[in-house]
C-alpha cells in the first residue's frame, strides 16, 4: 500500500519509511503541514500517518481541511499527547485512529493495515470466512467445519474483530480499544487469557490452528503465521 508520512522529525519519518518499505509498502515523507496537505491533494494514498504537532500547519487542521475537501483517505494521528481528551480531539477532527508516542512499529503497522482494510468494501460483509471458520454477522452464529460453536457475547466480538482483520496482525491495545473500549494499558496479560479461551473454543478440536500469536506484536487469524 502507499503510505504518506507527514512528520517533522526526520529520524522518526525515515525510520518509519524504511520499516514500511521492509514490510513491502511504499512510503513518502512530507516534513511540514503545508507540504503534507499538497502531497495528500496531488496523489492517491491508501493511508496517511500524520503527526499532530507539525510546523506551518498542525496535524488536526490538516485533517480537517482534507475532510472538508472530501478526501476520505484513512488517517492515523500520531501524538505525544496521549490523554483521553487528546484522543477524542484527534478523532473528532476526522482522524480514523490515534496512536500516542512513543509507539512500537508493530503497533503502528497493525493499525494502518486495519485502517486500510476498514476503508475497503469487505468491511461491511455479512459473513466473515477464514478457511472453514464462518462468522455470520446477521445471526451472530459461528461455525467451524459446519459445527456450531457457542461463544459468549464478548468472545463473539473478539472473534469478529480478529476475523475482520483476518490475515493481519491485531495488537493487544487494538483489541482492548475495539472490543472493550478501554483506552489504557492494563499492564497484565488480560487479553492473552481471553484469547486462549477463544482459542480453546475455535481451535482446540481441529487439526489446523487458525488463531496465531505473533510474537512481540499481537494476534492474527488466518491460514498461516508469519
Amino acid at each position: 500500500m502507499r503510505v504518506l508520512i507527514i512528520e517533522d522529525d526526520q529520524k522518526t519519518a525515515s525510520y518509519l519509511a524504511k520499516a514500511l518499505k521492509e514490510s513491502g509498502h511504499s512510503a513518502e515523507i512530507a516534513e511540514d503541514g503545508d507540504t503534507g496537505l499538497a502531497a495528500a491533494r496531488s496523489a492517491h494514498y491508501d493511508v496517511m500517518i500524520i503527526d499532530r504537532m507539525l510546523p506551518k500547519r498542525d496535524g488536526l487542521s490538516l485533517i480537517r481541511e482534507l475532510r472538508a475537501e472530501g478526501c476520505r483517505t484513512p488517517a492515523l494521528v500520531l501524538s505525544a499527547l496521549g490523554a483521553v481528551d487528546d484522543r477524542v480531539q484527534g478523532l473528532r477532527a476526522g482522524g480514523d485512529d490515534y496512536l500516542a508516542k512513543p509507539f512500537a512499529y508493530s503497533e503502528l503497522l497493525a493499525r494502518i493495515e486495519a485502517l486500510v482494510r476498514r476503508a475497503s468494501p469487505e468491511e461491511s460483509a455479512a459473513r466473515y470466512v477464514v478457511e472453514d471458520l464462518v462468522l455470520d454477522r446477521l445471526s451472530h452464529k459461528v461455525m467451524r467445519g459446519g459445527q456450531p460453536i457457542a461463544l459468549q457475547p464478548r468472545e463473539y466480538r473478539l472473534l469478529e474483530y480478529l476475523m475482520k482483520n483476518a490475515g493481519q496482525v491485531v495488537t493487544r491495545t487494538m483489541l482492548l480499544e475495539n472490543v472493550w473500549d478501554y483506552h489504557f494499558d492494563p499492564q497484565t496479560n488480560v487479553i492473552d487469557v481471553h484469547i486462549s479461551r477463544l482459542r480453546s473454543k475455535i481451535d482446540k478440536n481441529y487439526d489446523k490452528t487458525l488463531l496465531h500469536t505473533v510474537r512481540g506484536a499481537g494476534y492474527m487469524i488466518g491460514t498461516s503465521a508469519q
Binding site: 512500537a104 492494563p186 487469557v193
Partner: protein, 472 residues
C-alpha cells in the same frame, strides 16, 4: 505612612462622611436660627402693638394725664418692657426709659436703639426695639422691648453650631484616621505575613484574629490559596523526584545493558536478546512515564470538563468481565454483588481505568501462596449510600499492614515490598488521583485477612439520568 494613611479607603470614606454630616448640621442650625429669630421678632412686635393699643385707649379716654399715670404704673413692674412719655421738647414725663437718644427723637415708627440701664455693677448698654408715637401737642409716647437677651440667645446658638460643627469634623476625621490606621495595620500584617510565606517556601500561614470579620475571612481565603499552592508545589516536587528516581534507574539499566552488549563480540542471537531486553526496558519506561503524566494531569484537574452521566454499575461489570478469566487462571474466584444501575457524573473512561487497576492489583497481590484455601477470591460490591456510591474490592491476599495503609495512598509512595512487583507500581496512586478528581476518596481497610479497597465517589449531578433512561 502619613501619605498612605490619607490614601486608605477608610480615611476617604470618613472625610466624605464628615462633609455630608457637617453640611447637614449647618443646614439645620441655620434653619433653627432663622425660625427662632422670626418667631421671637413676631412675638416682640405683637407685644409692642398690644401695649401701644392699650395705651392709645388710655390716652383717648383719659387724656395725657391718664396716659402718664398708666405709664408710670406699668414702669414699676419689672420686665423687659420699656416706656417713655416726653413733651415736645423731649423732657421726661413718665416711664422707665430715662433719656431720649437722638436716634429715638428723630424717628416716628419702629426703631432699634441702644439705651443705658442701671444695674448693680453700674450702668450697662442694652439693645432694644421701640415704636415711637407722636401725641397731640408734640408729646411722644415710646413703647419698646429690650432685645438684649434675644441677641445673646442668637449668639449662643451660633456658638453651639460652630462648636458642634468643629467637634463633628474633628471626631470624624480623627475617627477616619484611626479606623484607617487600624485597617492599614491589619492589612499590613496580612501583606507582611503573605510576603514572608511567599519568600519562605510557603510554610507559614497568616494568623487569624478570630473575629470572623471580612479581613479574617480574606486571610482565611489567602491561607486556603496558600494551602492549594503548597499542595500543588509538593505534588510537582514529588513528581520530579519520582521522575528522577523511577525513570533514571531503568534508563541507567538500559544504557548499561546496551554497553555490555557492545563491549564484547557476540553472536547474532546474543545481540538479538540484548536488543529485545532493551525494548522491554524502554516499554517499561514508557509505561512509567505515561502513568506519571496521567497522575499529574489528574491532579491538575485537566479532565473535569469532560464529565458526563454514566452507569457505574456497567463500568464495574465490564471490568469484572475483562478480568474474570485472568482471575480464574490465578485460581481466584470473582464474586460480584448484585447491584442495580448506579448513575453518577464523571469521566467513565477514567473510572473504568481505576476499577480495572484495582481489580488488577487485587489479582496480582492476592494470588500468592498465602491466598490458598476455600475463601480465596475477590468480592466486588457497590452500593449507593446517600449522596455517594461506595465501591469496594476485597481480596484474601496478604493485605497491607495498618501503618502502611495511609502511606501507600500518598502520591507516589510505594512500599518496598511492592517495588519488586511487575508494573510501574503507580496503579494505586492513579486510582487515588481519579477518586480525588471526582471529589471522592480511596480508603484501604483490613479484610481479615486480606485487603479491602473502598472507593467512595459522589454521584454528582445526575438529574439528566432519568431523561436518558426514559429516552432509551
Amino acid at each position: 505612612m502619613r501619605n498612605k494613611l490619607v490614601k486608605t479607603s477608610a480615611f476617604r470614606l470618613s472625610v466624605v462622611y464628615v462633609l455630608v454630616f457637617g453640611l447637614t448640621i449647618l443646614g439645620s442650625v441655620v434653619y433653627i436660627h432663622w425660625q427662632a429669630q422670626s418667631f421671637i421678632s413676631r412675638n416682640i412686635d405683637d407685644a409692642i402693638d398690644a401695649e401701644l393699643k392699650g395705651l392709645a385707649e388710655q390716652y383717648r379716654q383719659g387724656g395725657l394725664g391718664s396716659l402718664t399715670r398708666t405709664v408710670a404704673e406699668r414702669s414699676l413692674t419689672p420686665g423687659n418692657s420699656l416706656y417713655l412719655v416726653t413733651d415736645a421738647s423731649g423732657r421726661y414725663e413718665a416711664g422707665n426709659l430715662r433719656a431720649v437718644t437722638p436716634e429715638l427723637w428723630n424717628v416716628i415708627g419702629r426703631v432699634q436703639f441702644a439705651y443705658r440701664r442701671p444695674s448693680p455693677t453700674g450702668d450697662e448698654m442694652r439693645l432694644a426695639i421701640a415704636n415711637v408715637f407722636r401725641l397731640e401737642g408734640g408729646y411722644r409716647l415710646i413703647v419698646g422691648k429690650d432685645i438684649q437677651e434675644r441677641r445673646e440667645f442668637e449668639a449662643l446658638l451660633r456658638h453651639v453650631a460652630l462648636w458642634s460643627l468643629l467637634a463633628v469634623a474633628i471626631a470624624g476625621v480623627g475617627g477616619g484616621l484611626m479606623l484607617g490606621r487600624r485597617l492599614l495595620a491589619r492589612i499590613d500584617a496580612v501583606t507582611q505575613a503573605s510576603d514572608a510565606i511567599v519568600s519562605g517556601g510557603l510554610g507559614g500561614r497568616i494568623p487569624l484574629t478570630g473575629s470572623g470579620d471580612e479581613l479574617d475571612r480574606l486571610a482565611a481565603h489567602l491561607n486556603a490559596l496558600f494551602d492549594r499552592i503548597e499542595a500543588l508545589m509538593t505534588g510537582l516536587r514529588e513528581v520530579s523526584d519520582n521522575i528522577a528516581h523511577d525513570l533514571k534507574t531503568p534508563l541507567n539499566r538500559l544504557r548499561n545493558r546496551a554497553e555490555a552488549a557492545l563491549r564484547q563480540e557476540q553472536g547474532e542471537a546474543a545481540y538479538r536478546e540484548a536488543l529485545q531486553d532493551t525494548i522491554e526496558e524502554a516499554d517499561g519506561l514508557i509505561r512509567t512515564f505515561d502513568a506519571l503524566l496521567n497522575i499529574a494531569r489528574l491532579e491538575a484537574g485537566a479532565h473535569s470538563t469532560s464529565f458526563e452521566t454514566f452507569n457505574l454499575g456497567d463500568v464495574v461489570r465490564e471490568a469484572v468481565e475483562l478480568y474474570e478469566p485472568l482471575a480464574e487462571e490465578h485460581g481466584l474466584t470473582m464474586r460480584i454483588d448484585d447491584f442495580g444501575p448506579l448513575p453518577m457524573c464523571g469521566e467513565p473512561r477514567l473510572i473504568a481505568q481505576a476499577v480495572a487497576n484495582l481489580i488488577d492489583n487485587a489479582i496480582k497481590y492476592a494470588s500468592g501462596e498465602q491466598a490458598g484455601g476455600s475463601g480465596a477470591g475477590l468480592t466486588i460490591a457497590a452500593a449507593e449510600s446517600g449522596p455517594v456510591i461506595e465501591l469496594s474490592i476485597a481480596d484474601r491476599g496478604p493485605g497491607i499492614a495498618e501503618e502502611d495503609r495511609d502511606r501507600v495512598l500518598k502520591r507516589f509512595v510505594r512500599l518496598e515490598t511492592s517495588r519488586s512487583q511487575a508494573g510501574s507500581g503507580l496503579g494505586l496512586s492513579l486510582v487515588a488521583a481519579v477518586a480525588r478528581l471526582h471529589g471522592g476518596t480511596l480508603k484501604l481497610e483490613d479484610n481479615r485477612p486480606g485487603l479491602k479497597v473502598v472507593m467512595t465517589l459522589p454521584r454528582g449531578e445526575t438529574e439528566r439520568w432519568q431523561e436518558r433512561l426514559a429516552a432509551e
